[in-house]
Symmetry: C2
């Protein structure tokens, strides 16, 4: 059709980017396709105000996206920064979405791996062109501060999406599409075709709708599956923008836009469960609570289920050669986005006899006081504090924070912070509570939000044992050790392998345990109960497709 750009042409357009992404995912040095600084020097004078205007223009009206079979509308979001959103979305009929996805499947299969990767790269590129708008959408649904929303919700999410595209393209092209086979007089030609597993379902979370949603979305798409995107009712807009862009690119390429659809609902409608157990839904990606994640793993039996749930992120403090760096780094990790990251440390294990540091010996109480002081220093200036903490995403987090803050053993109390720009924002500093290793009833529960525990153990060996035992049983998405002793570091590495968790060591500078970099760091792992796969490894993409062969004789040469 006139004016159309075919999937194959889009692949050619983006081939250099895709090739670069594939080589980056293999080499795993630092690489990013989408500049993370929102500064004018990078994006120009006009980008930020234009993004602001675009976001504002979306407020208070129906969001323009077609949803097959939708009936009525829902408006379910509330900004943690206190502004009125008032965006409504077509209310989805789950069966209509599945039917539309199935109808779109054959054309999507025929687009082939490179064609689908071309479409995906075009989608990412167009989302990047709207990254300021997307960042506002992330900020006002999740409560991430703007710069973080721009990075974690924007450019880093796009990087994670591109990483998934690269891994999916590698995985689906590893077997050659056409081969010849000759054995003596016998000669055959063989064809390999990638077919998707079936309809994909991406269930978004309320804190990282794009960062955690893009990998599954793009992995399913590039491997040949249509995807129904089911946002959390509290964070619809970032994924609605995503679906809008997907459908626009698909339609312009002459494909059925129902390859990607949006499933908006009222809170409590439970369409995630309906969709996840539909016989035609064969892939489920979920980020959120262990409760629903475990339910999906147990009940979505017809599907491959990729979950990222919650866990007990652990820090083992043994000793350090940079005490100030340790405190500064750890204080930031506890404060960033008010601990509402799946990777924020919760359990900080310190031996009863204290720790050796370059500033001398510190007993547990002293370490607690020093960490508390480091938090106060980091968060002393309200403007800077607001930029680090972001806002509390919902009342559930606030309730847990209040409960922890009103209990015993509080080392660092939580205080309210005001935001100049958004007087209605709900902003709190983190609470740190002192516990003993015997208080396992408390610290083996995940307390999602700005609540961490400083836990006294008998020794570093005991800390490592507690680490292994609690993470094996309850899972974790991150782990950190501080030690100047090579033997302790070696033991910690071994413990992390036994626990089944990725490990950071002696972070005292500008790298934080809660952050993982696309193309270099694996995020999550199926090796402990907090998740079922890594972003992004072979296992995360290989379950989404099959390779089917056909073979026929050819004249022997």
């Amino acid at each position: 059709m006139e004016g159309m750009t075919s999937p194959a042409e889009l692949y050619q357009t983006h081939r250099e980017l895709l090739d670069r992404a594939i080589s980056a995912a293999a080499a795993r040095d630092y690489w990013s396709a989408f500049p993370e600084s929102p500064s004018k020097k990078v994006y120009g004078e006009e980008a930020a105000p234009a993004g602001d205007r675009a976001f504002t223009a979306l407020l208070g009206k129906p969001f323009p996206v077609d949803v097959p079979g939708a009936v009525g509308a829902v408006a379910t979001e509330r900004s943690p920064y206190g502004i009125e959103l008032g965006v409504s979305y077509p209310k989805a009929d789950p069966l209509a979405l599945v039917a539309a996805a199935r109808a779109a499947t054959p054309g999507w299969r025929d687009a082939g791996p490179t064609g689908r990767a071309g479409i995906a790269a075009e989608i990412l590129t167009r989302l990047h062109a709207r990254v300021f708008e997307l960042a506002h959408a992330v900020q006002h649904t999740t409560g991430q501060a703007f710069v973080m929303a721009f990075q974690a919700g924007g450019t880093h999410a796009l990087d994670r999406g591109l990483e998934a595209v690269a891994c999916a393209l590698s995985g689906t092209t590893r077997l050659p599409a056409r081969t010849s086979w000759t054995k003596g007089d016998l000669a055959m030609e063989k064809t390999a075709t990638v077919v998707g597993r079936g309809v994909g379902l991406v269930i978004g979370c309320t804190t990282f709708p794009t960062w955690n949603g893009f990998p599954g979305l793009f992995a399913s798409l590039v491997t040949g599956n249509p995807v129904i995107v089911k946002p959390h009712p509290g964070a619809v807009l970032p994924l609605a923008i995503t679906v809008q862009v997907c459908r626009e690119v698909l339609a312009e390429a002459g494909l059925n836009p129902d390859v990607v659809t949006l499933a908006a609902e009222e809170p409590g409608d439970g369409i995630a469960a309906t969709l996840a157990t539909h016989p035609d839904v064969r892939i489920v990606d979920f980020t959120g609570s262990s409760e629903f994640g475990d339910w999906l793993e147990a009940n979505a039996r017809q599907a491959v289920v990729y979950t990222e749930k919650s866990g007990l992120n652990t820090v083992v403090v043994d000793s350090t050669g940079d005490y100030r760096g340790l405190l500064r780094n750890l204080a930031f990790s506890l404060s960033l986005y008010s601990g509402q990251m799946c990777t924020t440390p919760q359990n900080i294990l310190v031996p009863r006899d204290g720790i050796e540091t370059d500033a001398g010996h510190r007993d547990v109480a002293e370490f607690g006081a020093d960490l508390s002081a480091a938090l106060d220093k980091l968060l002393g200036d309200p403007r800077r504090a607001a930029g680090t903490l972001g806002a509390i995403v919902n009342d559930g987090v606030l309730g847990r924070l209040d409960e922890a803050a009103s209990g015993s053993g509080v080392l660092h109390p939580s205080t309210a912070v005001s935001d100049e720009q958004f007087p209605g924002a709900t902003i709190r500093t983190p609470v740190v509570v002192r516990l003993d290793a015997a208080d396992e009833k408390t610290y083996t529960q995940e307390c999602f939000g700005p609540v961490s525990y400083l836990i006294t153990t008998d020794s570093t060996a005991h800390s490592l044992a507690v680490f292994v035992e609690t993470v094996r049983a309850h899972g974790a998405l991150s782990a950190l050790v501080h030690s100047t002793d090579p033997a302790v570091l070696e033991a910690a590495r071994s413990a992390a392998l036994d626990a089944g968790v990725h490990l950071s060591e002696n972070l005292t500078g500008g790298v934080f345990v809660n952050q993982t970099a696309a193309f270099s760091d694996l995020h999550g792992t199926g090796a402990n109960p907090a998740a079922t796969a890594s972003l992004t490894d072979d296992w995360f993409v290989a379950g989404r497709f099959f390779t089917l062969q056909s073979r026929r004789h050819v004249a022997s040469s």
Copy 2:
């Protein structure tokens, strides 16, 4: 220790073989590491008689293999060729096997991917040195005729094992073990370590204990898991020899031999179910009935379950340019190992108006008569017939054959064949029964063994519709189409993608639909209910391991 060859040394010894296997699995042209002809020209004068003697020496006594925690012995095998076997095996205690496997895990993890691949290659090489002995063991447990036992049970099984080693080695080394990461002033060193998912369980079948057992065994081993091998009580010896060799190689390399153990039982003990649902068993490989395979998929929830079950292998006959070739090829496919292959065609779909051939038009009755005559010609000479048919593996197959043969619509009756060398052998020619497309109650059940149905449909389009519908619902491991019409072939390819099954086209020569070649043909697919993965694709290996990272700062360069 003196005299030991370390895993790393074994990797160096076999590196050329492993590299070649990896490149063959990528290129997918014909390649085999283990010569399939048992002739003296290939293996020398002494190999065959020595293998015969080694096999005979095993009979009538306890098989020499250590099994941790075993109590007593079991002797459960019966040769389909009628000879006395009388081999006994230590009777396994499932909990002791799991405990032994867990204890062996850390050392096996530390051997690393290349070390484990070196061990695996050494095991395959030593099994190859015993391939004649192994072939006799396969013949007298499965009923495969000797040459087929040598090939399918020996060299081809070794090829499939090596293919799994190659895929597992590729998969576990795709992410570099050590990388550096530099972002501005920040520099880190990152380590990636492969850890196995947990204890592997391989549940063997009675017809192809090695060919179907080796891929899971070697894939689990190379990815870092200990493996408990649970043979079918009717076909223990081939896998007992395998376990013996595994333990010998492990011990000689200074590793805990309990990385591989044998789980022999009395029929009905049910230790497969006990093991498959043990919390520490995290990988299950199963080949056998849909009934138990489906049970495993539903109940072994703590594990990744790879199954190969049964299905409705289908032939769509539309037209042919080589009628004699078609008949000869199809007759052989129905006869080989008495249809006791998971890939033997069962449902042969022919349009009511008949088919066009180079020998003129054939109506359905004529085609049935011609196929029957082709079977008689192939199986007319008893010696040749015995070599093709092999023996009936057990009374279950015999019962189904008798039932089909005594019903109505028999086009080709089954007859008994005698074997000069083994007068006690149970050998039967296949039965072909004529059905109509309306008789779906009969042909949508798998009738494992030498029973096939010639099914009249309304048209080739109807045949393709029946093909898609029955295979989507009940699964299949193979499919074949015969047509001279490019449009029909194109429609058949599309139908095979919809059905989710590999397709062969116009086989009229020396390639048969029941055979797949390691390194080139994928065997099975998760795209239909007959299996959950292909031998051997990324999905088959990626679920068996995790990659865990650790990261630390280094001085920025």
